[in-house]
Amino acid sequence: MTDKDKPILVVEGLHVHYDTGKGPAKAVNDVSFSLKPGERLGLIGESGSGKTTMATALMRLTRAPGRIAGGKVMLDGRDILAMSPRELRETRLRDIALIPQGAMSSLNPVMKLDEQMIDAILAHKPRMKRAELDARVAELLRSVGLDPSVAKRFPHELSGGMKQRAAMAIATSLAPKVIVADEPTSALDVVVQRQVMQTLGRLQDGLGAAVVLIGHDMGLIAQFADVVGVMYAGKLVEIGPVRQMIENPKHPYTKLLVESLPGIEVKQALTGIPGLPPPLVDLPPGCSFNPRCPFAFERCRTETPLLQDVAPGQRASCHLYPEHQSLPPLPVTARAQHHEARP
C-alpha cells in the first residue's frame, strides 16, 4: 500500500452520548468510516442527526452533558481519544483542524484578525518571530482570497463571507492533514457560498489535506465531495462514492432524500420525507428509520441492520440487502414512478 492509499483518518465504532434526565441521547451511535489523504467526505443529515456532535468528537472537544462513550478516532495511526492532554494540544490545529458551525460568530469580537491568527500559530510555534508571523498571516489571508490589509480589521468590520474565509485561514494556519468543516456556508448567499467552497477546495488541494464537509444540502455536498455519508438519528446509514450515492442510492432514506431534491428544469410537486426523526433517547426497535420507511417489513421493526457492502465502495445499513446475496434493485417509489411517467 502506498502512503496515498493509506487512510489518514479512521473512525471506529464511535459513540457519543448526551446524558439527559430521560437517559442517554445517542447522538453518535456506532459510527465508522475512513478517509484517505486528499479525499473529500461530505456528511449529510437533517438537523439533530448528530453531525456537529461527530465533528466535535473528532477533535475530542466534546463537552458535558456530552461524553464520548466508546470508539477510536485514529489520525495517522494515533488514537486522538487516547492521547495525553499535551499530545492532544499539539495535534489539534497542527494535524486536524475544525471550522466550527457558526465559525463566523466564533471569531473573537474584540481582537483584530491578525492577533487571533498569531495567537493560534504561537501556541504551536512559540519561537516564531514577529516578522515571520506577519508574513505568514499575509500569506494565509491571500490563500483564502482576502487582501492582507484585512488583518488589521475587527470581525464586525467584515462581511459574512469574509469572516468565513478568515475562519478558514485560521483553521489552515498549521497546514493540517484533516480539515473538518461544519456547515461552513449555511448563512451565506449562493454566490458567496460557491466562492467559499471553491476556496476551501483550493486550500485543501494545496495542502493535500483530507476534508470532512458537514451539511444538510445535498446539492452543495454533491458539488464538493468525492464520498458522501448520510447520517440518520445518530447513525451513518449509507456511505459511498458521490456519483453512486446520487444516481444509485441504496438506503431508502438516501433515496427519498435524493428524490425530494427540486431542480430548475421542470416544475414538480415539492415533496419532503413525511414524518420526523425519532427522539434520540427513545429510538424505535430495529432500524431507526423504520417508522418513516416506505419499504419497511417485519425484520426492520425487530432487528438493527448493520452497515455492509451493497455495491463497490458503497455501504448501507438496511435489511433490503441481506448479507452476501445478489443485490435486488430497490422497488420504485410512487415519486419515482411519477418521474418516469413524464415524457
Binding site: 460557491r194 445535498m218 446539492g219 425530494s260 427540486p262 416544475k267 415539492l270
Partner: protein, 340 residues
C-alpha cells in the same frame, strides 16, 4: 384595472445610501400570483418587503393598496390593510415569546381583529388554520415555542397569517433557517394557500431553486435596483442579465454533470465602495463594455416575458411600461416554453 398592490417609482434612501431604487410594480387583484424577490444580502429585499407591508415609508414614490395610497388611508382602511397583508419572517423564534404557549400568537390576532364571537368559534378558526399548514392542533396547542422544531414554528407563523384571511402574504426568507429536507413541504403549503385560498404571495429568498418551483414570476435585485424580472421559466430557466446568470450558475445542483466549474468569480466586497454613474454590476461583470460605465442601463425587453437592465440587450426594445409587472405571467396562463 385596480391592482392588489402597486408601487410607483419607489426609492428608499438611508442618508446618502440608496437601499432601493425606483421600483415600479403591481400585483393583479383578480389573478393571485406568487412572486419571488431574489438577490444577494444587502440588495434591498427586506426593504422592499417592509415597504409592501407598510412598515416603512418610501423616501420617494407611492404605494397603493387596492387603489388607495397607503400614506393617506383612514384608520379604518389602515386596519383593513394591516389585516389583509400579512408578514412571515425569517426566524420565527424571535417572534415568539418564550414564556407564552404557542396558542398566544394565534389567539392575539383573533381578539385584535374580532374574528370570532365565542371561545368555541375562536378555537375552531385556530384549528382550521393549523390544519391548513399541516400541523395537528392537538400536538401544537398548549406547547411552548422551544418544544417545537424550527419548521413547526415557521408553520405556526404561516397559520397565524392564514387565520386573518389575508389577500397577500409577504414571506421574507421564510425557510432559510429550516433544513433543506423540510423546506419543500412548507413551501408547498404556501403554494396551496395561493392556489386554494387565492392569497397573493411574495416569496423573498436567495434560493432560486425553490423560487423556480413555486413562483410564477421573479424580480432579481442587485444593489437596490431591478436587474432582471419576468416569468421564472425565463429568468431562472435562461437568465439574460449577467448577474442573474451568475446567481443561476452558482446554484449547487445535485447534478454531477452540472458542476460549478472553476472560474474565479470576482468578490463583491472588494469593489463595493466605488461609486459609478453606470451599471451597478459593471465592477463585477464579465461582459462589461465602455458604455456600461457611462450611464445606467434602461430596462430592455429581450423577449415579451422578461426585462433586463443591461446594455447587452440594447438592440431589444426598451420596456414601454415602467411597471415591471407588464412582463409578468399570470397564473393559469400556459407557461412559456424556454427556447421555444
Amino acid at each position: 384595472m385596480s391592482a392588489l398592490i402597486e408601487l410607483k417609482g419607489v426609492t428608499k434612501t438611508y442618508g446618502s445610501f440608496t437601499a432601493l431604487s425606483d421600483v415600479t410594480m403591481s400585483l393583479s387583484d383578480t389573478n393571485p400570483s406568487m412572486t419571488a424577490i431574489a438577490g444577494e444580502s444587502g440588495s434591498g429585499k427586506t426593504t422592499l418587503a417592509r415597504i409592501l407591508l407598510g412598515f416603512i415609508n418610501p423616501s420617494v414614490g407611492e404605494v397603493f393598496y387596492r387603489g388607495k395610497d397607503i400614506a393617506k388611508m383612514s384608520s379604518a382602511e389602515q386596519r383593513q390593510f394591516r389585516r389583509e397583508v400579512q408578514p412571515v419572517f425569517q426566524d420565527p423564534f424571535e417572534v415568539f415569546n418564550p414564556f407564552y404557549r404557542i396558542d398566544h400568537v394565534l389567539t392575539t390576532p383573533v381578539k385584535r381583529y374580532r374574528l370570532a364571537d365565542s371561545e368555541a368559534k375562536a378555537r375552531s378558526l385556530i384549528e382550521d388554520a393549523l390544519k391548513r399548514v399541516g400541523l395537528r392542533p392537538q400536538d401544537t396547542l398548549g406547547r411552548f415555542p422551544h418544544e417545537l422544531s424550527g419548521g413547526q414554528r415557521q408553520r405556526v407563523m404561516v397559520a397565524r397569517a392564514v387565520l386573518l384571511r389575508p389577500r397577500m402574504i409577504v414571506a421574507d426568507e421564510p425557510v432559510s433557517m429550516v433544513d433543506a429536507s423540510l423546506r419543500a413541504t412548507i413551501l408547498d403549503e404556501l403554494r396551496t394557500l395561493n392556489r386554494e385560498l387565492g392569497i397573493s404571495i411574495i416569496y423573498i429568498t436567495h434560493d432560486l431553486t425553490t423560487a423556480f418551483q413555486i413562483c410564477d414570476n421573479i424580480l432579481v435585485l442587485y444593489r437596490g435596483a431591478i436587474a432582471e424580472a419576468g416569468a421564472v421559466e425565463r429568468v431562472i430557466g435562461a437568465p439574460r442579465h449577467p448577474y442573474s446568470q451568475l446567481l443561476v450558475s452558482s446554484i449547487p445542483l445535485p447534478d454531477l454533470d452540472r458542476a460549478w466549474g472553476n472560474e474565479e468569480i470576482p468578490v463583491s466586497e472588494a469593489n463595493s465602495s466605488r461609486p459609478n454613474a453606470g451599471c451597478r454590476f459593471a465592477p463585477r461583470c464579465p461582459h462589461v463594455m465602455d458604455q456600461c460605465w457611462q450611464s445606467a442601463p434602461p430596462k430592455y425587453m429581450p423577449d415579451s416575458q422578461r426585462l433586463a437592465s443591461c446594455f447587452l440587450y440594447r438592440d431589444s426594445p426598451i420596456a414601454p411600461d415602467e411597471d415591471v409587472s407588464a412582463v409578468f405571467r399570470l397564473p393559469g396562463v400556459a407557461p412559456v416554453v424556454v427556447g421555444g
